[in-house]
């Protein structure tokens, strides 16, 4: 365990960013999102949840894959370069770290997504233990301890110090590089802080929500439930929940014609959109109810069915905070609880 003075944070960030890019929560026009650090950045480590999750550092909202150019009447394809520089992702909360683990299941299993893989290999994750979890948080339901997040390095906010705990080789390497800022520390204050956090966690309304009835074998039972037809109705079919979610991984492939050729890029897509997976014959899911059901079935049933029981929800609660119609995964789970309880 190491520590550094909070007042040294800027100096520490400057030191890293001299050699490597640092992504961290930055406040811009009143909202906090991950961005590349520079000396003018308004770093904001106090806001618990960035609007968009940390996933965009590894899986950006849009990225060019290759470019097709025309030389006279011949076609030339140029592949976009893969990430080859080291970078640091700083200040990630436990839920978002877990979110990246979910994405790894998708993008690092065969066929491997080379763009994602390259970024994962070059990125060091410095996670941040939560000090003041909020009412929409339910990470505990997914086995996440927000007081002890995963990551290459974990930082704990204790009084005037940040405590620093390297957990992996990558983390050790970063610790090495920052040796001049870090001093050895006793882990007692951290333990104490964690106790405090866990106590609060126990008080939060969603933390203990039960997922017992949601598992990979629940497909037909859940799919056929009449509950969906009732609870989907407020949904306006926007992509807010999808785009702020740390685990949503669907993307669309699109072409953009520049003056110098066509760029093929991918961008996040949302299963809530009416043209999601649109094909020539139309759409598989023709109603908003079906689309709504898809999103939650995928998170809580299909994904665990294909990934050894791992849910593709991490309980960050962003969708709870941001849904324009105040409908969300918690309300879905509760609606089923009620329905199944009645039975």
């Amino acid at each position: 365990m190491k520590k550094f003075l909070k007042s040294e944070l800027t100096a520490l960030l400057n030191a890293i960013s001299e050699k490597e890019r640092v992504y961290l929560p930055v406040s811009n026009a009143g909202q906090t999102n991950y961005d590349i650090y520079n000396e003018n950045s308004k770093v904001d480590l106090d806001t618990l949840k960035t609007v968009k999750s940390a996933k965009e550092v590894f899986f950006p909202q849009s990225e060019t894959l290759y470019t097709v150019t025309k030389v006279d009447k011949k076609i030339k394809i140029t592949q976009e370069e893969l990430e080859k520089e080291e970078f640091v992702l700083f200040g990630v909360r436990g839920c978002d770290v877990k979110g990246i683990e979910v994405l790894d299941k998708v993008f690092l299993s065969e066929p491997v997504d080379s763009f994602y893989k390259a970024r994962r290999e070059h990125g060091v994750i410095v996670s941040f233990a939560c000090n003041e979890p909020e009412e929409s948080c339910f990470c505990k339901a997914f086995g996440i301890d927000c007081a002890e997040p995963e990551g290459d390095v974990t930082i704990y906010d204790c009084g005037e110090y940040y405590f620093w705990n390297a957990k992996t080789e990558k983390g050790e390497a970063l610790t090495e590089k920052l040796a001049s800022f870090l001093s050895d520390a006793d882990e007692a204050p951290v333990k104490e802080k964690q106790q405090e956090i866990r106590k609060i966690t126990g008080l939060l309304p969603y933390m203990n929500i039960s997922l017992d009835s949601w598992h990979g074998e629940a497909t037909s039972e859940k799919f056929d439930s009449p509950v969906w037809a009732d609870i989907y109705k407020p949904c306006i079919g926007c992509g807010t929940c999808t785009f702020i979610c740390p685990t949503c991984q669907c993307y669309d492939l699109k072409d953009y014609e520049t003056k110098n050729g066509i760029q093929r890029y991918r961008c996040w897509d949302s299963c809530m959109y009416s043209d999601f997976t649109m094909m020539a014959h139309g759409n598989n899911r023709t109603s908003q109810m079906q689309r709504f059901r898809q999103r939650f079935m995928h998170k809580l049933v299909y994904f665990p069915a294909n990934n050894d029981g791992m849910y593709s929800c991490v309980g960050c609660g962003r969708c709870v905070d941001k849904c324009p119609a105040s409908t969300n995964i918690i309300k879905v789970i509760k609606a089923f609880e009620k329905e199944e309880g009645v039975k």
Binding site: H281, G282, N283, T286
Partner: protein, 662 residues
């Protein structure tokens, strides 16, 4: 496999001099979809067209781009050429390399670069063109002529003689127009009434002609071949069917204070009146602003003297709705108001008159029974000064910028007539130029100068001052002698400019015909289509299109009639296929498009829509392609881009934008 062919025209050296046509061809060949590109001296020539046709046939082209002059010039030519070769005519696009490139830019590099881009844009557009097929619509075999002057009468007679029905709508109580007010005509000096009245009678008697006198066009809807027109027949208060035209009512009418319109307000007429003796129809009207009975329910004398019982004080305006295949505008002209020209003392002296007023004074049926006399004191004038171009050819905004065209000749006519009848009267004419380009016109003017001794002074008049002794002093300049002149006159005649009738603006709006800054109706082409308006089915006759004299008016009237006959002779018309069309699948039925449609072409239907197998009934917009003229207002009003314009589609224009900005 088919593809696009590009044909670059040299237009002799018109294009080739400032555009490297070979380069344009080379660059065009690199564009996607282009399978053929060539250049030629004159693409519009028979040989040029044959090249295009050959390429279409041999290479099975799906689209053609002709890089030539403006599409306004030869788009139709090349479309026809493509059609003959078996390609849909709407698969042809024109890159305007002449008017908008080679003629504008002097530098060959610049010109070539732009030509390549314009060609590229046309290629991008044509690759999104779709085959369009013109629709068909029927033709109502009847024509409407708006205006019953010599232009309208002649047009109506010519159409009727060809066997088609014609209605004339005339706003005044009688047909005849301005020509009826004239005394003699130049250059032959024959009596205007003598040549006009037989035509008026012919029109009235013609079984195919129906005259709506004292009537106005109220509303026009529809389109070429199928116009629907509301005509307001103003209340005459005299039953047309009963009146015998005896004239007793007019004699007895006690209200005689109204100024006679026909006599240019120089004398009075009764409240019940026909404008002039030879009026057609010879049925009087009651002027409700003058009639004592209609104003305050006193009098009623005319009804008592009318033996036919034709007077009907309760008559009301009547709206008649009629269908027409073609409409001819023959609304004629008015003399301008002289408010801006008070330096000539028109408002101050009764002896300063307009030429039209002089016509009435000279006319035997006029206010002075044809005696040349001063209106102020009835004395015979000894010195008369004519001032030309009053309100015509003005460089400032005071008057009209154009030449009224008829004034030089009627002034020569007036001068000759006066000198002939009153040899002791001195006549002086102040002019800017004397314009006599017409058959026997210059000879006529020379007779005025040489034979009749009319004193022509080149120069303008600055001022006319009424003197206490009743005379007028004319302050002018003699430009040839370069000196100031002061001429004493007993009478001054102003050659006031003519302007289109004020109601033409309203009529043009109803007909969606455009008018120029001077309120003359714009012709479809100033040289090649001078009697057609840009609105299909609307034709122009007489001064509404521009100043003209009688022979010109009559020839144009005949020309307009021929165009109408040509139209009415058809049983079916092809409609412009470049119309708006809604994508029913995605239409919201929100009515935004219908709200901006100037033709009322969009309606809504609840339609069963099949969206990839899901059937739902939606309210959707439906465009009547016969009514739609293809302006595109609806396409922008539609937020979802569901309403599109064929031939100028959203994606076609976007493709052009992209190509230009590439």
């Amino acid at each position: 496999m088919n593809g696009i062919g590009v044909f670059v025209c040299h237009c002799g050296s018109n294009i080739a001099a400032t555009v490297d046509v070979k380069k344009v061809v080379e660059m065009a060949k690199l564009e996607p979809g282009v399978v053929h590109a060539e250049e030629y001296q004159y693409m519009c020539s028979e040989a040029g067209q044959e090249r295009i046709a050959k390429a279409i046939r041999e290479k099975n082209l799906s689209g053609v781009v002709v890089c030539s002059c403006s599409p306004r010039m030869h788009e139709t030519t090349f479309r026809k050429c493509a059609e003959k070769a078996g390609l849909n005519p709407y698969m042809v696009e024109i890159a305007n390399l002449r008017e908008q490139c080679s003629w504008v830019h002097k530098d060959i590099n610049e010109g070539t670069e732009k030509a390549v881009i314009l060609t590229r844009a046309a290629i991008a557009k044509v690759s999104l063109n779709t085959s369009l097929v013109a629709g068909e619509s029927g033709v109502t075999k009847r024509a409407l002529v708006i205006g019953g002057g010599i232009a309208g009468i002649q047009t109506a007679l010519d159409i009727a003689d060809a066997g088609y029905e014609v209605d004339i709508v005339e706003k005044t109580p009688s047909i005849g127009g301005k020509m009826a007010q004239l005394d003699k005509t130049f250059p032959t000096l024959d009596c205007s009434a003598c040549i006009l009245t037989p035509k008026m009678v012919d029109a009235a008697a013609h079984e195919k002609i129906n005259i709506y006198s004292y009537s106005e066009v109220e509303k026009v809807s529809g389109f070429v071949g199928d116009f629907t027109v509301d005509i307001r027949k103003k209340a005459r208060y005299v039953d047309m069917n009963k009146c015998t035209g005896c004239g007793a009512c007019m004699e007895k009418c006690p209200s005689k204070k109204a100024l006679s319109e026909f006599n240019s307000g120089l004398n009075n007429r009764p409240a019940i009146y026909t404008p002039f003796a030879q009026a057609i129809p010879n049925v009087p009207v009651i002027d409700p602003s003058q009639c004592l009975k209609l104003k305050n329910d006193k009098c009623g004398l005319c009804a008592r003297v009318c033996q036919a019982g034709a007077i009907d004080y309760k008559q009301e305006d009547e709206i008649v709705t009629r269908k027409y295949g073609a409409i001819v505008v023959a609304t004629g002209f008015e003399v301008i108001k002289l408010d801006n020209y008070d330096e000539y003392a028109y408002s101050q002296s009764k002896d300063v008159i307009t030429s039209l007023e002089l016509e009435r004074i000279m006319n035997a049926a006029g206010p002075t029974k044809g005696h040349l006399e001063r209106l102020s004191d009835g004395k015979a004038p000894k010195n008369i000064v004519f001032i030309q171009c009053v309100g015509s050819r003005c460089a400032d905004n005071k008057g009209k910028s154009y030449c009224s065209k008829i004034c030089c000749m009627y002034t020569a006519k007036h001068a000759i007539l006066i000198r002939d009848k009153y040899p002791d009267v001195n006549v002086t004419v102040f002019y800017i130029d004397v314009r006599t380009p017409g058959k026997n016109f210059d000879e006529f003017y020379r007779r005025a100068v040489e034979e009749y001794g009319v004193n022509y002074v080149k120069g303008q008049v600055g001022k006319v001052t009424p003197e206490p002794n009743g005379k007028l002093t004319v302050h002018g300049v003699d430009l040839l002698d370069n000196k100031q002149l002061k001429v004493e006159a007993d009478m001054v005649v102003l050659a006031a400019a003519i302007e289109p009738s004020p109601e033409v603006r309203n009529i043009a709006t109803m007909l969606t015909a455009s008018i120029d800054t001077n309120n003359f109706i714009t012709e479809a082409h100033p040289k090649l289509r001078p009697v057609e308006s840009p609105t299909a089915g609307v034709f122009l006759s007489g001064v509404c299109q521009g100043p003209k004299d009688i022979p010109e008016t009559v020839s144009q009237a005949g020309a307009a009639a021929v165009k109408v006959i040509g139209l009415l002779a058809k049983d079916k018309l092809l409609t412009n296929p470049c119309t708006a069309k809604a994508d029913e699948l995605l239409c919201n039925g929100c009515s935004a498009c219908a709200n901006v449609c100037p033709y009322g072409a969009i309606s809504y239907e609840d339609k069963l829509i099949n969206d990839h197998g899901i059937r739902k009934t939606h309210r959707v917009a439906v465009v009547n392609s016969a009514l739609c003229q293809g302006c595109g207002a609806c396409t922008v009003a539609c937020p979802s881009g569901v309403m599109d314009l064929q031939g100028f589609s959203n994606r076609q224009i976007i493709a052009e934008v992209d190509a230009i900005c590439r």
